[in-house]
Amino acid sequence: MPNYLIMCRSLTYAQRAARVLERSGITAIVTKAPQGTSTEGCAYCVKISERRLADSMHALNSVNIPTGKVFIQAGGDFQEVGL
């Protein structure tokens, strides 16, 4: 099943984002971003299910947590999503 990856500018931001999402009832997993998703090198992201992207972005925006690019990941492939 595809997942969305919400890029975060640091591990701490990713953790904060995940806590916000969990409080909103959205399962979120902090993980290292796949290579190629960041031009700056190592980065972290929050992984959520395909169905919860809109809810997730709303929850994060409502508490002013900055987010980066969003990718859809299926298997080993990922592709940037325009929001």
């Binding site: 640091s10 701490t12 904060r16 290292k32 031009t39 700056e40 090198g41 190592c42 980065a43 972290y44």
Partner: protein, 373 residues
């Protein structure tokens, strides 16, 4: 042993701190590197501690809580971020060498807002005169020698009025007095984790209103393709491997402090110190540097035994099972202020784990030692 040297390090910790350290050693690697379970457990421990500290000190975001190795490290980052050679910097007359040596190394123009011990009016007046035109103000919250609680909110207000960034050394107040980062409007607050916050040695914290300039440069596990340090907090100041066992222990310490409440801890410690001071004040050979006012005296107190060398007194007390510290306490400015520079003092400093019975015993031992010196 009766341990009355908590201003150096709280030896007596809640048992949860030790358990957290051991658990971290057994189960956690390091955050910001891998994404395997041991790394993520470490990341969770660090974030939990950051969040707890952020809540405890009323910091807007956990990202503004930076882990350091001690208070000196934190204060070095703060001062190096704000101050350059020749800059006018205002300090209190009670600063520790963690502040004054760094300012000397930078080549700052150090202005001392000199004020009498336990005299808030004098302190505020001195800062009002000194702060205009300063590049920064660096001020201890509580004197590590005398336990004098400086009027930090009023000093903050003066800094705010003149738009002078304030750095606070909270080494003796974090975990024992209320500290509201937003209210104090400080640019940085530096503190140890291993004193009032009950964490292990090797832990410190810097609360940041601005990103500052990194002191330690290296890998952060983020933005790895770039040669420069990340621009964002906390990564900007956290190069290299974290002290995760220490941070896990610090988290347990903060949880303990939060559950008891700093006001309760301060009240309890002050009642103990009050008892000790009352018993010692009956002996005319003992000179106390003490204020009965809870608003300006923390649970740190200096004393001298007339005619006796303070190091000899501390050694004799140690032989009797009383752990104290003597000398200048790395704070020559404070001793010059109180006119104790030539003799130094013997310092007693309490923790929530001390008891009333210990105060009675300590008073007896100090009086006995005064008899034989």
């Amino acid at each position: 042993m009766i341990y009355l040297d908590s201003a150096a390090t709280t030896l007596l910790k809640p048992p949860e701190v030790k358990a957290a350290v051991i658990s971290a050693l057994d189960n956690m690697s390091t955050p910001g590197r891998g994404s395997h379970s041991a790394a993520m457990r470490a990341a969770d421990a660090a974030f939990d501690c950051r969040q707890a500290l952020s809540d405890f000190f009323n910091v807007s975001d956990p990202e503004r809580v930076v882990f350091t190795f001690n208070a000196t490290h934190a204060l070095n980052i703060a001062m190096r971020s704000l101050i350059g050679p020749g800059d006018k910097v205002v300090v209190s007359g009670y600063e520790h060498n963690a502040v004054t040596r760094q300012l000397f190394e930078i080549g700052a123009d150090i202005w001392v807002a000199q004020s009498r011990l336990f005299d808030d009016y004098d302190a505020v007046d001195a800062f009002k005169k000194a702060i205009p035109g300063a590049k920064a103000c660096v001020c201890t919250h509580v004197s590590n020698v005398f336990g004098y609680i400086l009027p930090i909110e009023q000093i903050s207000d003066i800094c705010h009025e003149y738009r002078v960034p304030l750095v606070i050394d909270a080494s003796q107040s974090a975990g024992t007095l209320l500290i509201d980062f937003k209210r104090l409007d400080a640019e940085f607050i530096g503190m140890p984790g291993h004193k009032g916050l009950m964490g292990p040695q090797g832990t410190g914290v810097l609360l940041c209103a601005s990103p500052g300039v990194p002191l330690l440069i290296g890998g952060t596990g983020s933005d790895s393709a770039k040669l420069s340090m990340p621009a964002y907090l906390p990564d900007r100041h956290e190069a290299g491997t974290h002290n995760i066992p220490g941070i896990a222990g610090l988290r347990a310490g903060v949880k303990f402090i939060t559950s008891y409440g700093v006001e309760n801890i301060h009240g309890y410690e002050r009642s103990l110190l009050s008892s000790l001071a009352r018993q010692l004040s009956e002996d005319e050979r003992i000179e106390l540097f003490y204020s009965p006012d809870d608003e300006i005296q923390s649970a740190v107190m200096s004393l001298r035994i007339k005619g006796a060398n303070c190091e000899s007194v501390a050694a004799a007390l140690g032989d009797q099972g009383l752990a104290v510290r003597a000398g200048l306490h790395c704070a020559p400015f404070a001793h010059r202020t109180a006119k104790t520079f030539d003799t130094g003092t013997v310092r007693v400093s309490l923790s929530p784990f001390n008891t009333a019975e210990e105060m009675d015993t300590a008073a007896r031992i100090i009086r006995d030692v005064a008899n034989i010196m």
